[in-house]
Amino acid sequence: MDLFANLAIGFDVALSPSAMLYCLIGVTLGTFIGVLPGIGPLAAIGVLLPITFHAPQTEAIIMLAGIYYGTMYGGSTVAILLNLPGTAASAVVAIDGHQMAKQGRAGPALVMTTLSSFMGGCVAIIVVAGFAPPLAQFALRFQSPEYFSLMIMGLLAAAVLVQGPFLKGIAMVVLGLLIGTVGQETISGLPRFTFDTLYLYDGLSFVVVVIGLFGLAEVLRNLALGADREKVDTRVGWRELVPTKRDMKDSFMPTARGTGIGAFLGILPGAGPAIASFVAYALEKRVSRNRRNFGKGAIEGIAAPEGANNAAAQTSFIPTLSLGIPGDAIMAIMLGALMIHGLTPGPQIIQNNPEFFWGLIASFWIGNLFLLLLNLPFVGLWIKILSIPYSILFPAILSFIAIGIYSLYREPLDIFMVTGIGLVGYLFIKLRCEAAPLLLGLILSPLLEENLRRSMLVSRGDPMIFLERPISLIFLILAVLGVGAVLLGSWRASRKPQTEEGSAK
């Protein structure tokens, strides 16, 4: 079987001492930053991103992936123990997880998140290994119009999934695309939006934008909260540590169902782990025999979304790697990191860089194993981290941000730029504009322009080309249907609470 031969190549790479070391460092750092109060996975990856650029190509991406899993795991830990979910995905786990912690069952809850994640990860690896190559094969037939329509679909999905008005999401995507055009234009060499500065000739550095919008803006927001910052109460009951046999039995099917949902949703561009968690939890609440205990500390309510979360996290690498179209903001960062390392994601990556591709996939599994083996014994330590006062933490985070950015290009102007973007990011938070769609727009902007231009050249200036080619048409129809479905859903939801006298929120 090709599949196993390929996985064997992968494990060969991923089991090399240097890959394992970087994976371990990534997972540990990720968990460490992930449990820090007020730092979600995006901010954590933003802060740690520059470090990975000093590692060799494959190792760097393995480390970044490790950071990603680590932060997600750290996020779940905080969500369960302290009911402080850092992300939408961990908000779902917090519903029942924190109830369990209150009942003194934090131990089983944490063990189960890790076990479910691990199982989700194991299944998802097979899905990735099985689906990515055929998808890449299929995508080899894609030409510019198909890519253009696929990107439009992904961008619309990102816009529609923000909280609040759809138009805000659209505006943020467009703003991201616009920022992506800054710099010298590829064909004519015309500098665009550079304001006559040499600094902007190469465009805005993607890393600077990520760190400013996510890392620094988070710090500013937390500082501004001041005394209102959530007080962290680290006293949790530890009556039991390991799940009982019944817990395991109760969790098995929910995990399996969650994994299936997650693996499927992760493949779709624009979906990703957060949606997968929500859907898995909602489904489990319907089908579970134990549904009446949901929200009161049902272990099924942890197992299903955690399995989904992790499975989706891994399968979302499928579109990112084999099409070069990221599903969400985190994958956009991954894509940016790949490009900085000189790897061009797309259908060819599997053929041209098999060691990289399969090594990364195998490292997913190893990263999960590290999480399982290393983090469970150290739960107590992670909780200690939570009690570090913010007044000590944030100068350290700022130093990390500043040194990290300066280490990339040795350009002091980058520090000023990140400060400015951080302020803009803080403004976005104040205006309740989610920055994730902007990032997706920013990373896809050059690709979108190139494919648009090429399509128009091929069609001799006829925009109907996007509707005449079947695959491209399908993407556009899916995009319209998806947007329509979500808009209809939110319209219905907005009508309902009005009859109950504004009980929205």
């Binding site: 004519s188 015309l190 620094l216 700022l398 040194i403 300066y406 231009r453």
Partner: protein, 161 residues
Amino acid sequence: MNSDDPQTDLLAAAMFVAIGAGAIWIALDYPLGSMRRLGPGALPMVLGVLLLASGAGLALQAILRAQMDPQWRDQPLLKLPKLPSVHVVRSTLCVVAGLGLFGLLVRPAGLFLATATLVLVSSRAEAGTPIIGSLALAVIIPAACVGIFVYGIGLPFRVWP
């Protein structure tokens, strides 16, 4: 999906409209090209128009919602945002100044002093932090950073002036 209050949406809309208009204004100088050969100005122009339009749409939506929803009808639509409190101004200024000084100092003064300055200045963001605490952090954090970045990762930074 929970929506934000119309006033916030209106401010966000104003920001989008302003940026969109600015982008169109600047992109007017770039050649648009033809449909067949899109010039460097084509995409920025389209994006500028889209941004302007979505901003305008958002504003319209916010105004309509404010008109229709009893919760908002009696409130003034254009409420200026509250002035930031002394604390917010102080913390933001400390962070901005700290990072700015780092940028200015890192080349001439080396990594250690630049980081120490950043820590010292930014840690004043919290009014409750004693000076002695800031000073201690300004020694410990740069030392740890030099340890991690220069000796751990092996980046060739100049540590001292």
